[in-house]
Structures are given as structure tokens and as C-alpha cells.
Symmetry: C3
Subunit: 363 residues, 3 copies
């Protein structure tokens, strides 16, 4: 069990696209200090960057890393133009972090995309595929499926009968669209995501429980993104709908009949129980649980790990278990942490009060 | 990013099966008010229903939706027979919600099922398949696997060597049965479910940790259902067993050697650590975590997000972190929320008491 | 719904390898009492073992099971050599549990492994495969992928373009390696695990949010194990790195830019948000959530379900929500549970104090 010789190179970034310091400065509109011919091929934080990496210094906190960084070129905020440090080629910009984000596309190595339909794909004769669609190996497409132009269905993905996908949809490998689902344009399903499953609804019968047939749809509107291995159930008597532009991270569960508005964010491992409504622009933290039949108002924020058992008004920040307004939660937490050393004296005091019945009257 | 024109139709339901109001009334044993020839093709809640949708009004809370609903036919409780509202074709039944559930099967469009074995499937020569089995594209079935009559193995599912599946089993797409697992009749694995993996057991060795070989089985008894992307480990020195009729939702983790009784329910994202026993009829809420080597008694209920670190007696309702009887939990929560405004006066009082040592004696 | 006749046999273990009691005694260095010719074929706990099962008695707690156990051979601690019980063939060893673990490999039935490349696999011509590699059915391997000697890629697994895998790697069925990932030697991905996805990073733009291109890598060092359906994102501007020997259970989420040290353990359903660092030997409990940009020190332990919102120093044990040192947490929990019956008297006392303003001064 060695590990020392792996990974082979320290630098981040895909390392494929050489760019000169002068190029970088021009793109970000920065002022170059040092050698304009230095070439970078990747991006890395100051502590791990090598001579062919671009890095950035935006905060004093990282000055000690800058002091000894091996980075070839560093984007620095104006305050750090003359900061002591080994990197001599510096590009001065107002917002180094934003500049860096703007440069990422130049260092990003795109996944290669084949044209057309892989010969191993199994596609129902009644399916209709748009122009310039890519269908990779071992994809299965059921009866009457419709797929819009330029969509890319990666290897091993499955699309059940009757589903309709818009244009520029991307299903990553092994993603699953259950039958009769509807996906808008530019929807992304990451690897292993499952959408359109009949939800967890059962009714008791003399011979045991039986599954409720689900006749509602699973609708993902335009620009929705579903993370790896996340699950979205179809509706039972209503549709499950995820509004346009909403982004969902990995391992999230969305129950049946849930209605999510536009431009919401769900961090990973959140779970939303059946028939809950989440309005536009709400932000749901990681591992949050929301009970069924509730309403989370527009632009509300639910902090990580909160357990939500009641409605949340629009615009409010809630946290904790059971969830309540974040400020109340913080006050309670503070009170509880101060309580620990008060509880013994309090018990003694109350015991003494109880044993001196005359006390209250006799003063 | 438009979104406005998607999804194309507002109504829920699969929209395939036209049924007249008279038909509906006959099936549910209800009394028809209005036009018996109105045809419905789907089901939708009052606020989203269109002229070809069936809807229902069971509670006064939804009366405002009923007032303007476009639903073609509405199942109404007797109290709402004359309720003000646009829908004029009404079917009066005692329990509109139950009636609706009973009708779902008529509106449910079943996933088409091919007969026989898809030519792309890879099936070991030693595998034995029952009568009328469906094996879809890209399925892999290992050595000595046995599959009972009428089972349906969907595309991309994998069944490891030596596994035994009963009759009428349904593996949805990309479901995984690890080698040497045993599934009873009518077991359902949803898409991406993984059962029979060697669990998370390691022992320290001079060269690092090594995995404990798992010789226990993973046994899913009759009528067990495992949700999408859920995971059930096989046993290490014992079996992992899930009792007949137990239903498990999405993204649930069941550790090695866990024994679950009959007719239990597990909501999504619950996790059960190794060697815990959960007795018949227990109900486990969403995101609940149960530590290892515990016992959850028969018909016990564990509320959502509870963290269980001790045994729970039969029939009790527990909640919270750490989990305890729900009533105690509620009392504690109430006390804590009242504490916040008492903590300052309490601290002042105790400080005063502490600074007046004579007080206790001198009265 | 019968269930009674399933599963067909009560004993655990794979049941394939007959071993005599004398053999068992020799292997564990124990002293045999009873019939050396008794043959066992599997392993089971005392309460479920049959005449051909080996079992063990290490603790008085299980003496009642031992009293009536049907086990053919039982490993017993010295104190139990003469314990009352039906099993007459006993092997006396100092540590029966350790002895049992040492025997597991003899009862373990390995999954059969085919040699070479299955004809259905789709492998890019530019991929380079080491010696003695197994590639099972429906595997897809992208451009420029490198796979080390003796690695085994199970059915339905996908390896994206540019990824590099070491020697003796095991991808279980339907595991996914996104493009440009790096896996060391002996790395194991369980079924449905997804590594190397572009993480959850978006920036606002006038037309909506857009995804940040991720140029950091996803690096799993030697001997890393990733559980079923777990997800590890690639880095955005840094790499995501999981250190050598670290073991991760099922349904865990590791965000972008996270750096995990060597020999850490992550129980199932834990989630680590972006850019957090977890140092060597840390242990993360089930369903733990850790916020982004934090540091969990070396050999720290985070108890199950904890919600971590701040750094944790090395070697400490933290728990609860919000997480803090476990001893403080326990004191708080104890105080809270004692508070419930104090809150009414306390409120009365404070009210009385408040209504007697002279009290504080007049004494």
C-alpha cells in the first residue's frame, strides 16, 4: 500500500491547452507584471500549483501560500500586486476569483462526443429522434419516445415508452427516464439519476398492501438539472413538476406530486416528501428533509440538515430540527449551550424554593 | 430559457382511456348529477384539471379551487353536492378520495412488455429461466441463476452468479442483484437498486485494513419492494433478511446482517446500520438513521429524521435526535423554545443567589 | 402472500465448502471437544445455525441461544467450554469472534471471473489495457483510457475518455467513471458508484445560472473503496482527492474540491460539501453532513447524523446538531431532558421575582 507515487502530477486542470500570460491578461482585462511569455496549461490553488499552472490570490488568508507558491502565473487583486511571494508573473485584476471562473472554459477539456447513433443502441421503431442527436452504446429507447434536436443520450441510459425529451437534452451514462415522463429543453440528468418512477404509495388490502397506480406525470421543465443517482417520482393523481432552471444535486429524493418552482437549488441528499410545493427561487440545503403536503415559499432558504414539518413563508431563512426561523434557532441553541452549567444550580434553587413554602408569602 | 410553452398540456393522467361520467359513477357506486355523456381521459387536481379530466372534492379546504375548476367531472362528498363551482357534472360518493384511488387503474397506461428474451441479453448457459419470463436488452444473468415464472428483468439489469429469484419478480432498468442473493416471489427492485453487496466490514492488518469476506446471504422475502437507487448489503456471518411484504422507498441503505420483519415501511433516505433487527410492521420515516445492533420493536414508528441510538419498544412512537418517545421529545422541544427568553433572567437570578451566600440560611 | 416457505434454507454462508471440525480446530489453533469428523458447510449465528453450520459463542448474552442451538460445531471462549447447550462439538479458542473472521475466507464463495474481454464490450481503439484484464459484457471504455494489469471491469460499467485506472482495480456492475478521472491501484467502485462528475457549481448570468466548467480532477488514490451508488465530484479549480486506503460506504456524497486524507472511514449516507478537507484517519459516521470549506482534523471522529458547521480539531470526537465536542453535547442533552420538568416552576419563579421588584434591593 504505497500511494506516494500516485497521482502522477500535482497540478489541477486538464493540462491540454497552453496559454501565455499575455493571453490570460488580455482575456481578463488585467495588467501584466512580469514575463508575458510564461505558458500555463492548467489551473491549481496556490499550494499545489506548479510552473505551468495559473493560480489566484484574492484574500490575505492565502498570503502564506503565495509566499512559496510554484505557480507560473497568478491573478492578484490590486492590494497584492507587490505582495511578497515567489510567483513573479502576476496579473492584476479587480476580482481575481471572477476572472478565474471566466477562464475555466479555456482550460476545460470537453468530453468527446460521437455523431449519430451507435450500432448497439436498441431504439423502438416508433421512436422519433430529432436532428443531430447522439445516441451512445447500449442505450435503450422505448415505444413512441420523442427526442429533440441535438440531444445527447450517453451510454447505458434508458428512456421508457412514451417519454418526451426536448432539444439539447443531456442524459449522462446509465441515467434512467421511466415511461411517460416529460423533459424540456436543455434538461441534464447526471449518471444514475432516475426520473419518473411510480412513487411510494400503497393502500391496505385484505391480502396485504397494494401499490397505488400512478397516473400523474413526471415533468422536468427547461434547463432543469438532476444530480447523480438522484430520484424524482412521477405523480399519483397529480403531476410531479420541477420548474424551469431548477438545479438539483446528487442523491436527492423528490416524492410524488411534488411541485417545485423555477430557479430553485437543492443541495445533495435533500429529500422532499409527497405533495409538497416549493416556490420559485427557494434554496434547499444538503440533507434537508421536508415532510409531505407543505409549502415552502418563494426565495425561502432552508439550511443544511433542517427537518421541516410546517410551511415556511416566502423569503425566510429556516434551520434546525424541527425547522424554525434561523434567528430563533440560533437563540435556542445559545440558550441550550448556556443551560448545561445552569441546570444543577437551577435544580437546587427550585428544590429549595419548593421546600420553603413560606418563602413566597413570608417576604 | 423560456419554459412557458412546456409542459405541453396541463392535465395529469396518461390521457389514453376515454371514460364517460356514467361509467365512472357506475364503477364507484356513486350518484350522478349532470351530464352522463361527458368523457374524461385523465385525472388531475381541481386547480389543474381541464375539460377532459376527472377530479375530486373531499375537503372544504379545496372549495375555492372547485369554484373555478375546469374539470369535466368531479367526485364530491355528499356535503358538496350543491357546492358553488363551475363543474356541473358531479358524482356524489361517500369517500371521494377512496373512489379516486379505485379508479386509478382505469387511467393507468401500463409500460409495454415484450415477450421472451431480447437477443442482446447475455445469459449464462447454466442459468434456469421459468415460463413466460421477459428479459430485456443488455441484461446480464450469471452462472447458475434461477428465475421464476413470469418474472420481468428490464434493460440493463444485472443478476450475479448463483442468485435465485422467485416468480413474478420485477427488476426495473439497471437494477443490480449481486451474486448469491435470494429474492422471493413478486419482489420489485426499482431502477438502480443494488442488493447483495458485501457490506462495510473491515479488520485492521499490519499492511492496512482488509475487507471481511461476507458469507451471509441477502434475502428478500415475498412481495418486498426496494426503491430506486436503494442499497441492501448481504450479511457477513449472518444473513441480511427483509421480511415478506416490506416496502422500502428510494435511496435507503440497509447494512449487513440487518433483519427486517414483515410488512414494514421505510421512507426514503433512511439508513439502518449493521446487525439491527426491526420487527414486523415497524414504520421508519424519511432520513431516519438507526445505529447497529439495536432492536426496533413490532409496529413501532420512528418519525422522520430521527437518530436512533437505543432499542425502541414495540408499538411506541419515537422521534428526534437522539430519538426518544415522541411525547417526551415534544415536551423537550417546547421547554427549549420557552427557554430562550428565560435564560438571561435565570442567569441573573442564579448569579444573585450565588453572590448572597447568606440568603439560603438567613431567611 | 405466503412467505413461510421462503427462504429455502435457514443457514448462512455459501454452503459450498465442506470442512471437518478437526480441520477447523487446526486452522484456528483451538482445542477440539467432541466429534472431529462433524462436517460444516456454512456459518450462522447460534439461533439460526443448522447441523451443517459452524457458529460461535463469545459472550454470556448468547448463552440462551447456545442452550438450544442446532449448530454442528461451535467456537467457544474458554469460559464456555462446559456451558450447558445442545452443541456437543466445541472448539475452545481465546477469541472466538476473531477465529470466526479468520475462517470466513474458507466459506466464501468467490464470484466467478471470466478471462479477457467480452465480445459485447465497446472499447475505444486508443484505450490501453494492461495484462490479464477482465472486461465484462456491455462495458464502455472511452478514448485514451488506461487500465492497469489484472483490473476487472464488471458488466455495464462505463469509463469516460481520458481516465486512468491503476492495477487490480475493481469496478462492480454499472459503476461509472466520468471522463478524466484518476484511480490508483486496487481501487474498488461498488455497483452504481459515480466518480468524477462535474460538481454543483453555478454562477448567475443575465439569462439564468450557468454551470462552472470543472477543470479539477477526481483522484482516488491506492486502495480507496467507494460504496454502492455513492458519488464523488471532480474538482472545479482544485482536484477532488481521496487519500490512499480510505473506505467509503454506500450512498455517500463527496463534493467538488474536497480533499480526504489516508485511511479515513465514511459510513453510509454521509455528505461532504465542497472544498472541505478531512485529514488522515478521520472517521465520519452515517448520515453526517459537513459544510463546505471546513477542516476535520486527523483521527477526528464525527458521530452519526452530526451536522458539522465548523472546523474539528485533530483527535476529537464531535456529535450532534450543530456538532460540538461529544462530551459537551451529552451534557447539553442531559440538561435539556432535565429541563422539561423544570420549565414550569422556573417560569413561575421568574414571574414572581419580576413582580417583586423590591426583592433584589430590599434584602
Amino acid at each position: 500500500m504505497s500511494g506516494e507515487s500516485f497521482p502522477p502530477q500535482a497540478g489541477g486542470g486538464d493540462g491540454q491547452t497552453p496559454i501565455t500570460a499575455a493571453d490570460v491578461a488580455a482575456q481578463v482585462g488585467g495588467r501584466l507584471v512580469g514575463d508575458p511569455t510564461v505558458v500555463v496549461r492548467g489551473i491549481a490553488p496556490l499550494d499545489r500549483a506548479g510552473p505551468h499552472d495559473l493560480s489566484f490570490l484574492a484574500h490575505l488568508r492565502y498570503a502564506s501560500w503565495f509566499a512559496t507558491s510554484r505557480a507560473g502565473v497568478v491573478l492578484v487583486a490590486p492590494a497584492f500586486e507587490a505582495q511578497a511571494g515567489t510567483p513573479t508573473t502576476r496579473i492584476v485584476v479587480d476580482k481575481p476569483t471572477d476572472a478565474m471562473v471566466g477562464l475555466l472554459a479555456r482550460f476545460h477539456r470537453a468530453e468527446p462526443r460521437a455523431a449519430g447513433i451507435h450500432p448497439t443502441a436498441v431504439i423502438a421503431p416508433t421512436a422519433r429522434l430529432g436532428a443531430d442527436v447522439t445516441i451512445d452504446a447500449f442505450v435503450v429507447i422505448g415505444d413512441d419516445v420523442v427526442i429533440g434536436d441535438r440531444s445527447w443520450i450517453s451510454a447505458g441510459a434508458k428512456i421508457g415508452a412514451g417519454s418526451v425529451l426536448g432539444a439539447d437534452v443531456r442524459l449522462h451514462v446509465n441515467a434512467v427516464v421511466y415511461p411517460f415522463s416529460e423533459l424540456g429543453d436543455r434538461v441534464v440528468l447526471h449518471a444514475g439519476a432516475q426520473v419518473g418512477r411510480e412513487g411510494f404509495g400503497f393502500v391496505p388490502r385484505p391480502t396485504g398492501v397494494v401499490r397505488i397506480p400512478h397516473v400523474g406525470r413526471c415533468v422536468l421543465e427547461h434547463d432543469v438539472e438532476i444530480g447523480a443517482n438522484s430520484c424524482v417520482d412521477r405523480g399519483s393523481v397529480d403531476d410531479t413538476v420541477i420548474g424551469a432552471g431548477t438545479k438539483i444535486d446528487s442523491l436527492v429524493q423528490i416524492g410524488h406530486n411534488v411541485r417545485i418552482g423555477r430557479f430553485c437549488f437543492f443541495a445533495s441528499q435533500a429529500g422532499i416528501a409527497g405533495s409538497t410545493r416549493i416556490e420559485d427561487g427557494a434554496q434547499i440545503g444538503g440533507q434537508v428533509g421536508v415532510s409531505g403536503h407543505l409549502t415552502i415559499g418563494a426565495k425561502a432558504t432552508v439550511a443544511a440538515q433542517a427537518g421541516v414539518f410546517g410551511d415556511i413563508p416566502s423569503g425566510e431563512i429556516w434551520s434546525g430540527y424541527p425547522a424554525r426561523p434561523h434567528k430563533e434557532q440560533l437563540r435556542s441553541q445559545a440558550a441550550v449551550s448556556r443551560l448545561a452549567k445552569l441546570i444543577r444550580p437551577l435544580e437546587r434553587l427550585l428544590m429549595r424554593e419548593a421546600s420553603e413554602p413560606a418563602n413566597g408569602d413570608g417576604r
